[in-house]
């Protein structure tokens, strides 16, 4: 309780993971509310379905965590996801994976070089790349549809020893990112760059390479999210990734990751994605108008960021 009061009054000690009570209590309180108000929320079928809904958003948000921790942002990954999905449903599995993976790698390098070496503002850099991909997506996949191989479908819809593979996707992605962010020298470097890039550079660390790597990870996460969505849906459209741009930024923000950099954690992102997934799932159960869901999500985002007063002023 003391921690909550200290947090709300702005006197909470500064922590780099920012796993404050608000971040943890939000999905918990939504889950309790939904368990009380809806009959189906706690059913096993629904809970397993939640992982299906959450997985692509979680993968994309975990990737987005890296550039955001350095004080940047990547708004190109939704459009990149559409392009990758287009490659995957247009070509055979091997060629599609090669094209999509190559596109993701090149995009990450382009964004990273633009931000780290050419010093273009991350929003502007990734906006330019996003507009290019918004144009490229309908060229790669002119009409909705496409073919997806059985192996790719099994990779998403199948199960392993009775455990749904979608759950494994979520667990494996979270574990890998947690190890990289919290238990590796690279992760420490990323936090340090977000806190003060100049100081990191002056202390002899090549921050440019680390920043480029962060954007590469973000783009590669868009590739994996595309693989997951294509395997789950069995087809694609040229705009399939667009809604995920806003959702991933929202999830990261609700998860207490500061857009000014240096503060955030995998746990926070998981909480943010869980809260958003619960909201969408719960409102579907309550038959809430989908447009009203947008209003409610906007209000929650506003309240979430309003509670997290920053030291920094700016974008």
């Amino acid at each position: 309780m003391k921690a909550v009061i200290a947090h709300l009054s702005g006197n909470a000690p500064s922590r780099r993971d920012r796993l404050n009570p608000f971040v943890i209590l939000l999905p918990l309180s939504i889950a309790i509310l939904l368990a009380v108000t809806t009959a189906d929320f706690l059913k096993t079928e629904n809970l397993l379905n939640l992982f299906n809904q959450a997985a692509p958003l979680l993968i994309l948000s975990l990737g987005l965590l890296f550039p955001v921790l350095t004080g940047g942002i990547d708004i190109s990954n939704g459009a990149l996801l559409s392009v990758c999905a287009g490659f995957l449903v247009t070509y055979d599995t091997g060629t599609g994976l090669a094209f999509a993976g190559g596109a993701a790698l090149l995009t990450g390098i382009l964004n990273g070089v633009g931000v780290a070496l050419l010093k273009v503002h991350p929003i502007v850099m990734t906006l330019g790349v996003m507009i290019i991909f918004l144009g490229l997506a309908p060229i790669v996949l002119p009409a909705s549809g496409g073919d997806v191989s059985e192996s790719l479908i099994y990779l998403v819809r199948g199960d392993l020893f009775g455990i749904p593979i979608s759950l494994l996707w979520c667990v494996i992605a979270s574990l890998i990112v947690w190890v990289v962010v919290s238990r590796s020298a690279f992760g420490t470097r990323v936090y340090a760059i977000g806190a003060n890039e100049e100081a990191v550079w002056l202390s002899g660390v090549n921050s440019h390479i680390a920043i480029i790597m962060c954007y590469v990870i973000s783009s590669v996460s868009a590739f994996f999210a595309a693989v997951y969505i294509v395997g789950r849906v069995g087809s694609s459209t040229a705009t399939i990734g667009e809604p995920l741009i806003l959702s991933s930024i929202t999830a990261v923000a609700i998860g207490g990751v500061l857009l000014s950099g240096g503060v955030g954690s995998v746990g926070g992102v998981i909480c943010g994605v869980t809260a958003l997934t619960f909201i969408n799932n719960g409102m579907n159960h309550l038959s809430v108008d989908p447009f009203l869901q947008q209003v409610i999500t906007g209000c929650i985002l506003l309240v979430a960021i309003g509670f997290q007063r920053r030291e920094e002023i700016g974008v």
Partner: protein, 327 residues
């Protein structure tokens, strides 16, 4: 003194090339680019420069010009406004749905009030709560846009008020009035920002928000003023859109926030960097719309046009960043 003299003596005489280079080094990239585009149009598609055609294209550019002015002011104080899409949809709904039965001037006042209110909410979160401008303006856009979508399930947007249609289509000879009014408004705002104390505050906050805050500059007041102006201009853009189209829609102007960002960068303004002034982004907006029409004249499909615009944005952003670092 002697060292100063020796400095002067050592300095080589400025060559003609260096003078031209220094002159062009100070001009935002958009002006030579726009001049090149107009030259290309003059050679390849001279019809596009005929007054009737040219000013019709400029009329298309008015909503983007208005949103871009607001965006450029926000970016100069290291903020951002992605809520303009929501404000445009909201204002257009007020003007065209008949949800509020009132005379046109009252509807216009309400549409403008919506823009001001959204701007004030954005500013409160950004200045007082120090929230991220990206997230705050994204959230307000979601709230206003979502509310309109919910309301449109009950009452669809319909025809625009006749007064707005008449204003949008009013011409003096072959020249439509709307772009003239937009450029006049841009000129006035440019003059106000350039010659007033407010302009100095904007530059100071853009250079270092924390220093401006600590040194007692009215940071909160400036952020409120800038964001409310941006909201107001978005509402005006909605009026221009519904006047030109003759009807409202729930997807009106959805791409304007992102293209305004692109126009601001092309116009020589970036976060905390205002060398392009107000007019640079305005000309960049006009250039982007002209470029779209030029590419359409060559039968380029929409996806190819987007790719080309994206490449232009990236090249301009890199050039501006390079110039800012050199300065």
């Amino acid at each position: 003194m002697s060292s100063v003299q020796s400095d002067i003596a050592d300095k080589p005489a400025t060559s003609g090339f260096a003078t031209v280079k220094s002159l062009f080094g100070k001009i935002p990239l958009v002006y030579p680019l726009f001049a090149l585009l107009l030259l290309a149009a003059y050679i390849e598609r001279p019809m596009m420069l005929a007054p009737l055609f040219f000013f019709t294209i400029m009329r298309q550019a008015v909503p983007l010009i208005l949103v871009t002015i607001g965006q450029s002011l926000c970016m100069r104080i290291r903020s951002l406004d992605l809520s303009s899409g929501g404000v445009i949809v909201g204002a257009a709904y007020i003007l065209t749905s008949g949800w509020i039965q009132a005379p046109t001037p009252v509807l216009i006042a309400l549409a403008l009030a919506l823009g001001l209110a959204v701007g004030a909410v954005n500013a409160w979160f950004i200045a007082i709560r120090r929230s991220s401008a990206v997230l705050v303006t994204l959230a307000t856009a979601m709230i206003v846009g979502g509310t309109v979508l919910v309301l449109s399930g009950i009452l669809q947007p319909d025809r625009s008020p006749q007064a707005l249609v008449d204003l949008a289509r009013f011409r003096i000879g072959k020249v439509p009035m709307l772009p003239i009014l937009a450029f006049a408004l841009a000129g006035l705002i440019a003059l106000a920002v350039r010659s007033s104390v407010l302009g100095r505050y904007i530059d100071a906050i853009g250079a270092n928000p924390r220093a401006a805050w600590v040194s007692g500059l009215p940071y909160v007041r400036v952020v409120f003023l800038v964001h409310m102006t941006s909201g107001l201009l978005s509402a005006l853009a909605a009026m221009a859109l519904v006047g030109t189209l003759g009807k409202g829609s729930v997807i009106l102007g959805q791409d304007l926030p992102l293209f305004s960002l692109a126009a601001v960068v092309l116009g020589g303004v970036s976060f905390g960097y205002g060398k392009g002034g107000v007019l640079g982004p305005v000309f960049a907006s006009a250039m982007l719309i002209f470029l779209f029409n030029f590419l359409t004249a060559y039968n380029f499909a929409q996806p190819v046009r987007l790719i080309l615009v994206g490449i232009v944005i990236l090249i301009s952003a890199i050039a501006i960043s390079h110039r800012a670092r050199n300065e």
